[in-house]
């Protein structure tokens, strides 16, 4: 009888402590995550727009945008507009796909947390 009752105690189907070993480390950093998020809802954003949006410095944004660009997550174009140099960024297909996967992983982690509670 007690065995039957014990069987009713369900083992959690979702692992309690999800260790995100396969999270994209490039995206999993606040400023780079912000860059990817902002570009996800805009075709192109300028350097200044990103800087204002993410409230960061020129140097900081440059460094992180460069890392994303080197990994082909974002693409960059430079041009002259009204005699001023402009730099714009956009997500690449690879970047958009990986960003979507990253968000899905975050979602899974949050769902596992809700299952635990």
């Amino acid at each position: 009888m007690s065995a039957k009752l014990n069987k009713k105690i369900q083992e959690p189907t979702v692992p309690i402590n999800v260790v995100p070993t396969e999270l994209d480390k490039l995206i999993h950093e606040r400023l780079r995550l912000g860059i990817m998020s902002a570009l996800a809802v805009n075709d192109w954003l300028s350097f200044n727009q990103l800087k204002k949006l993410l409230k960061t410095t020129d140097g900081n944004l440059s460094v992180h945008a460069r890392k994303l660009e080197d990994a082909s997550y974002i693409t960059c174009k430079k041009y002259i507009y009204e005699r001023m140099p402009k730099t714009e960024y956009a997500l690449t297909k690879k970047g958009r796909k990986l960003f979507t996967e990253y968000l899905q992983q975050m979602d899974e982690i949050v769902k596992s947390m809700k299952t635990m509670s």
Partner: protein, 215 residues
């Protein structure tokens, strides 16, 4: 028989990865909202549209001829579209964006399609002497256009679309409500209200140091 009590396990506290995931998702959402705001109609543009609609509704109270009534509101719609486009272009120019570019273009297309549907629908209603429900149809279609375009913009814009849609439904369900009152409240008050909410949201964030949204 003694039934053993089952041990009730305390829910485990979320670990740091889970807490970070929650924060990351909230940050992503906030960033997307702020970044998407580059395509909204500025708050002052909406307030201006609202005031012009209020003035129009005061004028049309005294109009009994449906054809003249409809013509005045069509003229008001053209003026409102002009105000909206001017304010979007003015704002986007400051940011170095163009309305015919990527997400801005998608925003405009989604906004315009249901509005264009109102043209043949209004014509048919007028032709069959069914102009009584025209304000309800206009509110419904305008609400639909805001909802579809709102997916490229602030959540507040989405809520605004739902408000128009709901008002259109109320107009259809309760025909005793004067149509001029519906138009005043819908195209007048709602535009002013949401325009002021967008302005308030932006200025509040400016005080907190969020300089990303500009008018």
């Amino acid at each position: 028989m003694i039934i053993p009590l089952q041990k009730i396990e305390k829910p485990k506290e979320p670990d740091e990865h889970q807490i970070k995931a929650l924060h990351n998702l909230a940050f992503v959402r906030e960033t997307m909202e702020n970044a998407g705001a580059f395509t909204t109609v500025p708050g002052w543009g909406m307030v201006t549209i609202g005031f012009s609609a209020m003035v129009t509704s005061f004028i049309t109270i005294f109009i009994t001829n449906p054809m003249i009534w409809m013509s005045i509101w069509i003229l008001e719609a053209i003026i409102a579209i002009g105000i909206g486009l001017t304010s979007i272009c003015f704002k986007n120019n400051k940011l170095g964006l163009t309305i015919l570019h990527g997400i801005g273009l998608r925003f405009m297309i989604n906004l315009c399609i249901p509005i264009f549907a109102a043209v043949p629908l209004s014509f048919v209603l007028w032709k069959h002497n069914l102009t009584f429900h025209m304000p309800d149809v206009w509110l419904l279609l305008y609400g639909t256009s805001i909802i579809t375009a709102g997916s490229y913009s602030l959540r507040l814009v989405l809520i605004m679309g739902c408000s128009f849609f709901l008002l259109g439904c109320i107009g259809m369900l309760f025909p005793m409500i004067p149509k001029d009152a519906l138009m005043f409240f819908g195209f007048g008050v709602l535009h002013c209200l949401f325009g002021m909410l967008i302005l308030w949201q932006q200025y509040e964030k400016k005080d907190e140091g969020h300089e990303c949204k500009t008018e």
